[in-house]
Symmetry: D2
Subunit: 124 residues, 4 copies
């Protein structure tokens, strides 16, 4: 992820957040962007992403053809955009929240217990 | 989003990606992390996030109490972590994908047609 | 629900189950219908249903226009069809499972505590 | 599905619908049951159902252990209960809607084209 090129447009979460603010503001869409509605939209986009994988075998899901890959890339982008927007509306720092959660998970799934097991893992 | 403090741990999507790789590798979890399974997990986490908003009025969703805010922040983190992991497995650059999608949306929702309307917007 | 007209086609869950069995068998689709895949499909359909409500105010969701109503009716049907199919594959009696769950809920949400509150209700 | 025992309680969709009406009415929960909120709840329950399958291999999903089976049965029941409730609020006859949709699908997926293929099927 090329977030190392300062000055360039939209190469960080902060820049994306700013672009989404302008996008909504320019279209007078803030009225629709309650956290509740954004959480719905995020969930719907996550399902659209999942839809691309629903009938294919697990092994095939790692080797998408170019057309599938392009579509999946777009859906992944949609999920990120709504996630950035929702976090912005709730004043949540996405990177800090994720870093904190990794710490929580490290405690929750200690190496000796978690290795090779998806048992407890279902609660990740 | 404090992505401007170089040297610190986990302050960029790239660092989070690296941490998640180590996390899975250390626990021998790559066997579970097919894109199909990660897309399922992402969708499940998005629903857990949505669950916090399901019975509250739209207006209240912008003013969560501290306990709700903490839980929502954790769920948002989970969604981001799975999104980073899925994108990694599919060699997708999250920031570039999101920047491209904003361009697509700008064309799809021109200012004059989209202003104040959620009509076409339902297909965003 | 007109399940009272015996002899007519597809007027009960059992008849729908039978029709779906033939539908899948005729198309050689049982190979795709693992419970895991059906649970994914069910979740995707539930999200497509939800999509119709995502940007409309809560109050408006009770007064859909005819076009919206038709589309929502189709999505509701899709959810039921996958639910019947999944239950069939797992040998689960849908009506008995639902009747049992209502009993569980009655114990979980006693009248005196639950009245007018959506608090505990979030775990329904 | 034992819907053939008239007189017994909750052995049809109609009886379940009636029981759910009383359940909500007794608890003054109709205020929360807008179609929008019910569609959210349905989607959340579908994800909770899916969660049970997220890390298990597709083949294993057909042979759940008794504990998993019990939990999956409960989640399936929750999905059906919210589906009945949502259909009720929108005056939709679940069985008729499902029967109609099977007809639509039969036209959409003609035998000669659909056999053994999950291609077009992704739009089912």
């Amino acid at each position: 992820m090329s977030i190392s090129t300062p000055g360039e447009h939209l190469t960080s979460l902060e820049e994306l957040r700013g672009a989404l603010r302008r996008f909504a503001s320019d279209r007078d869409w803030d009225q629709f962007h309650s956290p509740k509605n954004l959480a719905i939209a995020l969930s719907v986009e996550a399902a659209e992403l999942l839809e691309h994988f629903q009938w294919i075998p697990e092994a095939d899901s790692a080797v998408l053809n170019p057309d599938q890959h392009t579509k999946v890339r777009e859906e992944i982008a949609d999920v990120l955009l709504y996630l950035i927007r929702l976090a912005d509306k709730l004043n949540i720092d996405l990177l800090a929240a994720a870093a904190d959660k990794i710490q929580v998970n490290a405690t929750k799934y200690p190496l000796d217990k978690a290795r090779g097991s998806s048992k407890k893992y279902t609660e990740f």
